[in-house]
């Protein structure tokens, strides 16, 4: 199927989104993707904070990796 087309399967029937419906769908997926990236960035930040705290406590990289 062509990359620029958006297909939805509903109860085994395929329909192509067009017009505003297609534009809204693409916009919503972009928002979803940004939200997902933000979520993972936050999880990475939390991990970085934990690593920093463990380093201050004097733990080695190996010990920190074992904890995280």
């Amino acid at each position: 199927m062509a990359k620029d087309k958006i297909y939805i399967q509903d109860n085994n029937e395929i329909t192509e989104l067009t017009g505003k419906e297609k534009d809204d769908f693409i916009a919503e997926r972009k928002t979803d993707e940004l939200e997902s990236k933000a979520r993972f960035n936050e999880l990475d930040s939390q991990k970085a904070l934990k690593v920093s705290a463990y380093k201050k406590l004097g733990l080695t990289e190996e010990e920190i990796n074992a904890i995280l």
Binding site: D10, E33, E35, S36, K47
Partner: protein, 196 residues
């Protein structure tokens, strides 16, 4: 009449009269209907689509459901899900996901309330095998979910275990699964009703 060993399904013996056959078939059918554990509601096989909808599948026949997902994505993303009423997705920020994921020695946990469910707190993927067990989506009560996810990009293998809640006390009769971003999905999803 004799019965099967495991499910106790009554069936006609070889000495029964032919005229009793219709009654016996009716008994067999109703017994199978009552005693089957999982009832396959629909299997959808799809290729390069942007969403897979199960419309008008939940009913008062079942309280709880299982969705088995096997698919690949065109890009490294998450699987998202939304409940539906008829052909309309419930798109409010009422979907709570709590979970923990692991990828090699990395472990990550979180809780998110947003406009969809997902089951991933560790890494996006291009290959997914997931099981979603949905509790009471058709009842006018909150819907709860227990989900487990295998995901991979080929080079990595990640695991996630999640629980989800939809906060509205609304009856829903369907669910949609879709890639959480610009990408398409290819694979198979089966939806089962759990007999009660």
């Amino acid at each position: 009449m004799p019965t099967t060993t495991k499910m106790g399904i009554v069936y006609p013996s070889s000495t029964d009269l032919v005229k009793d056959g219709a009654t016996a078939m009716g008994t067999i059918s109703t017994t199978v209907d009552a005693k089957s554990g999982l009832v396959l509601l629909e299997t959808q096989t799809f290729s390069a689509v942007s969403a897979v909808n199960f419309t008008s599948k939940f009913s008062s026949n079942f309280d709880n459901y299982i969705a088995e997902i096997n698919c690949t994505f065109s890009a490294s993303l998450d699987i998202y899900a939304r409940l539906r009423s008829g052909s309309t997705d419930a798109s409010g920020s009422d979907y709570v996901t709590q979970g923990v994921g692991s990828n090699s020695t990395s472990v990550s946990a979180g809780r998110t309330t947003t406009t969809y469910w997902f089951c991933n707190f560790i890494a996006t993927g291009t290959e997914f095998s997931q099981t979603w067990k949905l509790f009471n989506p058709f009842k006018a009560s909150v819907t709860n979910v227990i989900s487990n996810s295998y995901s991979s990009t080929g080079a990595t293998v990640a695991q996630n275990a999640c629980v989800q809640r939809h906060n509205l006390t609304t009856s829903y009769d369907g669910i949609t699964f879709y890639p959480g971003g610009a990408g398409t999905m290819t694979g198979v999803i089966s939806l089962y009703g759990i007999n009660k």
